[in-house]
Symmetry: C2
Subunit: 225 residues, 2 copies
Amino acid sequence: MPGRTPEPGEDPREIPDATIVRLPLYHRALMALDRAGESTVSSEQLASIAGVNAAKVRKDLSYFGSFGTRGVGYDVPQLLSEVRAHLGIQRSRNCIVVGAGHLGTALLTFAGFADRGFSVVAAVDVDPDRVGSRIGGIEVGHQDDLDRLVRENDVVIALLSTPPEAAQQVADDLVAAGVRSILNFAPTLIEAPEEVVVRNVDLASELEILAFHEGRRDNEVAPAS
Amino acid sequence: MPGRTPEPGEDPREIPDATIVRLPLYHRALMALDRAGESTVSSEQLASIAGVNAAKVRKDLSYFGSFGTRGVGYDVPQLLSEVRAHLGIQRSRNCIVVGAGHLGTALLTFAGFADRGFSVVAAVDVDPDRVGSRIGGIEVGHQDDLDRLVRENDVVIALLSTPPEAAQQVADDLVAAGVRSILNFAPTLIEAPEEVVVRNVDLASELEILAFHEGRRDNEVAPAS
DNA sequence: TGTTGTGAAATTGTTCACAGCC
DNA sequence: GGCTGTGAACAATTTCACAACA
């Protein structure tokens, strides 16, 4: 999936994927430090709050340039601002929740998005019992209004929490409406044009990874008959 | 680089982390194939359903031994059974949900766990309004009963869906009760003894990773002043 | 002195390409 | 002829270790 098109003259992909996935950890850590009134932080401290090691922190941050002060550390507000800029969340991004079941409801009422730079502004479902209801201050629209809601609300990210059978169709509709990023909670592969970024969160897969380690502890692996 | 540690009586062959996280994808794909009545599958087909490439599939599966037939492919039921054995989910594993808010409710009612090898058997919360209620057929117990519920129900995995402020204390309690694996949804680092495996699902972080790519498209990155 | 920034080394992961087998 | 299994080449990522410097 990574490693694409090193075209000369165009964006010379320079920040490693592995670094990108750690950026949110630094963001979270820096917000906590900032809230606590800390004005500087060393790579060692930041690493311990983020749960990584100090060399990685320094290497990761170095891709943006040199913001630290040798002998002192990093300026917390400045680094926070820098990380936000690189994450593209200096201004809030609008999101839509597609599928307002239990998971969709959790997403619509989740308190943790706002200060991380996201605003859930719309929701749709196909179930007539849900359409028209309000969840977390958002009125649930009908699936057929998806295109309009996306366009009217300047939605750029979709949270896809439908049953797996509906996921591909919904994804197609989202792409047609102009959504460029999809966070897919349905346990199925969804296809999208390559300019649309899809990330998958499969809860059962996460449990399976934990179970793998459980299994290692229990016993020797006992292969199937 | 030897790559092999032929220690007698010890862990026979180390399976790479990168392979482990793909195992659930193969599991999901094989279940779909099995349900569809397919009896064999090539690495190419399996790859396309799982969303990876064929070389990776073959390499990953080769860590378990040789189960394919050259010129034919893999036997679906056999490979499914093999993958399940390695994932440690030949028998179902019991889980507890800690924190029965909207996210906890989604986890308690999620239909997708059962056929992936997991059974949510208990839930706890601290809110008196929630304790005693039934969600998804499970009675929500009080946080103080956590230890008892874990032991009585042979719980090995916890789904931690409390607010971040409570997460560390809950994790400590879970470890004390004997839980060996934690799936942490709270956006904070939790510390646990190294024999306890913790995986983190931070929804806001996932959105930030999407936003990073959005930002790349919008414009040049505009660093903070 | 204490801490960053970074080349270089070590490690881990991916892809290639083809021999071996059905 | 088709497809697996796998060494070997390649690529990405992590870690080391230390010079630079406020």
